[in-house]
């Protein structure tokens, strides 16, 4: 696609510098090591390949989460979303989950989406926790605004974290009821919800950085929506 850089100067969203999320490793229930790390804009095309199959999966609202995440990642790739970031989970190099968010301003963060490809291992919980960790501990924000688009999300975020209701605030994902995670809530819940070790052993990090491996479309769909899907 031809890009007119003169016009791009106008169209591109201005951004503020963001602190980087330091990678960490989490031991999953099956002893597999999940590397959680921040990806770069250049990695987006690979991520889109993994998100695309979820768009047609109705189970557990993967369709709406998938299609919105796809748009958000593409928006970031095309410089149309301000101050976005994306964290991923990788096991043996394979992508097992994605979370993203952005800075509304210096003090307020926006949680966008959480998508687990491998299910039943609490990948989504770990990645959401990493996202909160990023906003509060590394981006240094005061609060993160969150909505849930699925019953699973509501249970995982609003109930497990005990988020505060924000009745008069409309989250940018739409009119769904908004909640917020404050610094206080984050540090109160951190001992039971935020885990992982740093630094990531070199061999694990090298494997993760070398290539974001993507399962084929059939496998992704089966993992999310097969008979064994949880």
């Amino acid at each position: 696609m031809a890009i007119d850089m003169e016009l791009e100067e106008v169209l591109r969203a201005p951004e503020v510098p963001q602190a980087k999320y330091p990678p960490k490793v989490i031991t999953l229930a099956n002893s597999k090591k999940m590397v959680v790390r921040e990806v770069q804009r250049e990695d987006v095309p690979v991520l889109l390949k993994a998100v695309r199959p979820t768009i047609n999966v109705e189970r557990d609202y993967y369709d709406i989460v998938g299609v919105r995440l796809y748009a958000e990642l593409l928006g970031w790739y095309r410089y149309r979303v301000r101050n976005e970031y994306c964290l991923i989970g990788q096991v043996d190099g394979y992508l097992v989950g994605i979370v993203n968010g952005r800075m509304l301003n210096e003090k307020i963060g926006i949680s966008l989406h959480t998508l687990a490809i491998d299910r039943g291992l609490r990948v989504g919980s770990h990645l959401f926790a990493s996202k909160m960790e990023h906003h509060i501990e590394y981006l240094g924000q005061e609060e993160v605004r969150i909505v849930a688009e699925s019953p699973i999300g509501f249970r995982r975020w609003m109930i497990e974290y005990g988020l505060e209701l924000l009745p008069d605030v409309q989250h940018e994902l739409g009119g769904a009821t908004a909640y917020r995670l404050t610094k206080q809530i984050y540090y109160d819940t951190k001992p039971r919800l935020v885990v992982g070790k740093r630094p990531v052993p070199k061999t694990l990090l090298d494997e993760a950085m070398q290539e974001i491996k993507i399962a084929d479309e059939k496998t992704i769909t089966e993992k999310i929506a097969g008979v064994k899907g949880r």
């Binding site: 989490i26 031991t27 099956n30 039971r192 885990v195 008979v227 064994k228």
Partner: protein
């Protein structure tokens, strides 16, 4: 004089989350597999017993036995639904067994099924809790996981059961689930991942203290079925090795836990087991393979003691020592149990009998098959131990 009764056909569908199937679809698939397995061809059955706990609540559907016989073109067979909570499956088999043993019917189909995943986990938990006492338990928010948590705490204090023992049950059964094509959960877990690593606080959070996430069975959809007939008929028409229902037992206990002298004493499990062993003229030590009702990991340990496989206080140690694994002293839950195969409540008791039938017909892959298994045993646990049905099954060798 009661007649001997044999199982001549079994069928089961993979348990899990079957969004595309209705409850009736699942019951029909499992039934057709059992009827095919029995080699009945166009021959019908005299009666159909359907085990189900919650279609009236979960699907807003009743009279499913009538619907199933029509769906299967088994009209005008007699048809009944049997509801006995999570022990509905074994209760339905018991009813079929008595009908054949009495001589009134000769060929009976028993199917068990439940579709629980079309409601949220909260609603499924609430649905199961409807079997608690409606005045002194349910209104106060008790759930089955809550009861199991309290039971576990008492059992730990009285018999020295440890977290390591509970974790060992979960690991064993989930490992077996990876080998069972019918299992809902086909994911191996490790002690490191669910207990030892600091990350286990998220991987395996407390669910009903002291029970954690991996101490619980999943909420599943699924169905299973068996075909029963008299042993004499089986000798004439069976295409596969018949499995004799050599003994059965059923016993009840107080509805509320608080009324039991000792809540750690699962009296109905002991009584039902004793009845089954006496009828079969066998002892616990004669059993080659067992399917116990491990809706919670503690129950596999407690039941293994109340059945008589181990002395009180020895069941947990036995798990740690590998005595309940394949090739151990008494292999328990080689299917993965409720913990991994899943627990569609109305199907479970039937699925246990199907699994033991596979074992006694020596049909399983060597990773799950107990070598030369002749006698099998099941416990189907209703309520929180207030209605128990057990079977002793025996490979029939002419």
């Amino acid at each position: 004089m009661m007649r001997d009764v044999a199982i001549i056909g079994v069928g089961m569908i993979p348990f899990g989350r079957r969004d595309e199937d209705t409850l009736l679809d699942m019951l029909a698939y499992a039934s057709l597999k059992a009827l095919d397995d029995a080699g009945l061809g166009e021959k019908g059955v005299d009666a159909v017993y359907v085990a189900n706990m919650g279609a009236g609540i979960l699907q807003h559907q009743t009279s499913i036995a009538s619907a199933l016989v029509d769906r299967l073109s088994l009209l005008p067979a007699a048809a009944d639904v049997v509801e006995n909570g999570p022990a509905s499956g074994a209760s339905a088999i018991k009813n079929g067994l008595l009908a054949v043993a009495s001589g009134y019917y000769d060929l009976v189909l028993v199917a068990g099924g439940e579709k629980m995943r079309e409601v949220t986990g909260w609603k499924a938990t609430d649905f199961v809790a409807t079997m608690t006492h409606p005045e002194v338990e349910y209104p106060y928010g008790i759930t089955l996981p809550g009861m199991a948590g309290m039971f576990t705490r008492l059992y730990m204090e009285k018999y020295g059961v440890t977290r390591e023992m509970l974790v060992a049950v979960a690991i064993k059964n989930q490992q077996m689930g990876t080998l069972n094509p019918y299992a809902h959960v086909e994911m191996a877990i490790t002690k490191e991942g669910i207990m030892d690593t600091p990350d286990a606080v998220v991987n395996n959070p407390t669910a009903a203290d002291p029970l954690h996430l991996y101490d619980m069975c999943p909420v599943s959809d699924g169905a299973a079925a068996v075909v029963l007939c008299s042993l004499e008929t089986a000798k004439k028409i069976a295409t596969k090795t018949p499995v004799l229902i050599a003994g059965f037992g059923q016993a009840t206990d107080t509805h509320t836990l608080q009324e039991r002298d000792d809540p750690t004493n699962l009296k109905a499990v002991s009584l039902a087991s004793q009845q089954a062993f006496e009828m079969a003229k066998l002892k616990p030590g004669d059993i080659d393979v067992a399917e116990l009702h491990d809706a919670f990991t503690i129950l596999e340990i407690a039941e293994s003691e109340h059945v008589g496989f181990f002395k009180k206080g020895e069941g947990g140690k036995a798990v740690l020592e590998g005595k309940t694994k394949l090739n151990g002293q008494i292999p328990i839950n080689m299917s993965g149990g409720l913990k991994a195969r899943g627990h569609p409540v109305g199907a479970t008791g039937v699925a246990q009998v199907v699994e033991i039938t596979f074992q006694l017909r020596h049909e399983l892959d060597k990773t799950r098959q107990v070598k030369n298994a002749k006698n099998g045993f099941t416990i189907n646990f209703g309520g929180f131990g207030n209605n128990i049905v057990s079977f002793v099954l025996r490979r029939f060798e002419s």
